[in-house]
């Protein structure tokens, strides 16, 4: 009995060394549960304080940009589902839009409605998964199962219509690939009702938890000025009060006819980014609610030529994915394949701000800060 107490009373951590040259370097990843993918961070520590973080990328680099140079304008869309696999509908959407912009194709109303509904369902699914994973990173395991159960319902709806659960490949130049499944409307309506109740549950379970709040407040501070300078977009920038929602600023499809709010928080910390995402789920539900009963009848795909040729020139299209602004830049020489294609992925820019966000804080806060960046590694590496 006596010996045990003695051991407990010993200091558990080594005091931080003040001298330079005595820093500790540790590797987080490439296989680490908190990086959610093959991200490799080389962290320099002084005691428990982070001195520097250097991301090493490329473990899942497939050179999608080079591959696309030899794929036709119909084929290259399929590759983009593999970039940010949690927003695959939205990635496909961006590519379809840029090709339509080049060809000047008018997309039927029905297809536009279906596309926006699919985008918003994707956003809800992505934010739900993030919410579960975020809580798990901080040590709460139950929310992960809650999130997966809700996301499963969305995946089932997707599976019926698109035939896929992750890499959808549903949006094609001119519209969508197939019409909606007969069950789609009824199932989606049931899902929306269930989701509102679930979100209240989530708030009780995690958001109001004092331990959770203490771990998120004041962690990973990112000022509005720095968010712009680092090119952060999506919930990361909106958590710092930067208005950057592409759906509002440069509306595409029917977003300018819809009633929804751009969520802005001014906390600049992890809790603000957390709140932005949870509130965005409610906004997405609101958008789906507005559309689900009003899908117009008609064609779901415009007639396009079998072989697509974009005119000579440059085309750029940006969309709002669950992680931020995705840009597709195509340089065309008038052929059947793009001459050069560039994907400006939101995760890449958001990750570049990580070092700035956590420098000087404790290593335990790294997970709370990195989690709110919502990194998807194939999106960063491409």
């Amino acid at each position: 009995m006596f010996r045990q107490t003695e051991i407990i009373n010993q200091p558990s951590t080594i005091p931080p060394s003040k001298e330079e040259g005595e820093y500790l370097t540790i590797n987080v990843g490439p296989q680490h549960p908190a990086t959610h993918g093959v991200l490799h961070l080389v962290i320099t520590l002084s005691g428990e304080t982070i001195i520097n973080i250097e991301p090493h990328l490329g473990y899942i680099h497939r050179s999608i940009e080079k591959m696309c140079e030899s794929l036709s304008y119909r084929q290259f869309i399929y590759v983009t589902s593999r970039m940010d696999y949690l927003s695959s509908h939205i990635n496909n959407h961006a590519c379809a839009l840029v090709v339509e912009k080049g060809l000047q194709v008018e997309v039927p109303q029905r297809a536009q409605y279906i596309r926006v509904i699919m985008d918003e369902l994707t956003r809800i699914a992505s934010h739900s998964l993030w919410w579960g994973a975020m809580a798990m990173d901080l040590g709460a395991f139950t929310p992960f199962f809650h999130a997966f159960r809700e996301r499963e319902a969305i995946n089932e709806i997707m599976e019926e219509t698109c035939g896929a659960r992750l890499t959808m490949n549903y949006m094609v130049p001119g519209g969508v690939m197939v019409d909606l499944h007969p069950n789609f409307q009824q199932k989606t309506k049931a899902l929306i009702q269930a989701y509102y109740n679930r979100l209240d549950e989530w708030d009780e379970l995690v958001t109001g938890n004092i331990i959770f709040q203490n771990r998120m407040k004041g962690v990973g501070m990112l000022s509005a000025e720095n968010a712009i300078s680092y090119g952060c977009t999506g919930p990361v920038a909106r958590g710092s009060g930067v208005s950057c929602d592409v759906r509002k600023i440069y509306p595409y499809e029917i977003y300018n006819q819809l009633q929804f709010d751009e969520i802005l928080e001014t906390g600049c910390d992890s809790l603000a980014r957390y709140n932005v995402r949870l509130k965005e789920i409610r906004q997405s539900l609101k958008i789906v609610e507005q559309l689900i009963d009003n899908i117009p009848e008609g064609e779901f795909q415009a007639k396009t030529k079998a072989v697509l040729k974009l005119p000579k020139g440059e085309f750029y299209q940006r969309v709002e994915t669950a992680r931020g602004e995705l840009g597709v830049y195509i340089v065309s020489e008038g052929g059947t394949t793009p001459y050069r294609i560039k994907f400006r992925s939101p995760g890449f820019s958001n990750l570049s701000a990580l070092n700035h966000m956590v420098k000087g804080s404790k290593i335990g806060d790294l997970i709370a800060a990195m989690g709110t960046l919502d990194l998807v590694i194939p999106d960063i590496d491409r």
Binding site: N226, Y230, G231, V242, S243, Y329, R340, R344, S352, H356
Partner: protein
């Protein structure tokens, strides 16, 4: 500002700039030597205020390389595209990472894929590929029979 107003304003700032017609946004070519001073002006000028560099990339035109910078303003919501032609054998250009921090990562990516050397860059190393990788994979003449990228 509309594209026409931007064109007038930007010509005042840099009379040597040439404009490219067509496209959604205003495209302008400037000299590599002018890049740093020109971009600093358009960032700090209150009427232009291009504070957000949202895309930085490069295109290989076989005879030369073209750096492509997409700028946007979070205040005025206008966009421009600034392009700089570079020599293909020894491409060198000033870094923009001190004006826009996002340029640091994007320039490292362009460096390893196109071989463009960014002068005064704080940490110009390969980002995605391995350190011993040879060649510039996104250039049009790149051939690698072992790790085939072309389909």
């Amino acid at each position: 500002m509309t594209n026409e107003e931007l064109k007038i304003k930007l010509t005042e700032l840099n009379p040597a700039a040439t404009f490219e017609e067509g496209g959604e946004w205003l495209n302008l070519f400037i000299d590599a030597a002018d890049l740093l001073s020109f971009t600093k002006t358009i960032k700090e000028n209150s009427e232009l205020y291009f504070d957000y560099l949202f895309c930085l990339t490069c295109v290989d035109w076989k005879t030369h390389l073209t750096m492509v910078y997409h700028f946007s303003s979070t205040k005025h919501r206008h966009n421009i595209v600034v392009k700089v032609k570079l020599d293909r054998t020894n491409p060198e250009i000033e870094t923009l990472s001190f004006l826009w921090r996002t340029a640091e990562f994007h320039e490292r990516e362009v460096y390893e894929l196109f071989g463009v050397k960014f002068l005064n860059h704080p940490d110009l190393r390969r980002l995605i590929l391995t350190d011993d990788f040879e060649g510039w994979p996104l250039r049009k003449d790149f051939e690698d029979p072992i790790n085939m990228i072309k389909l």
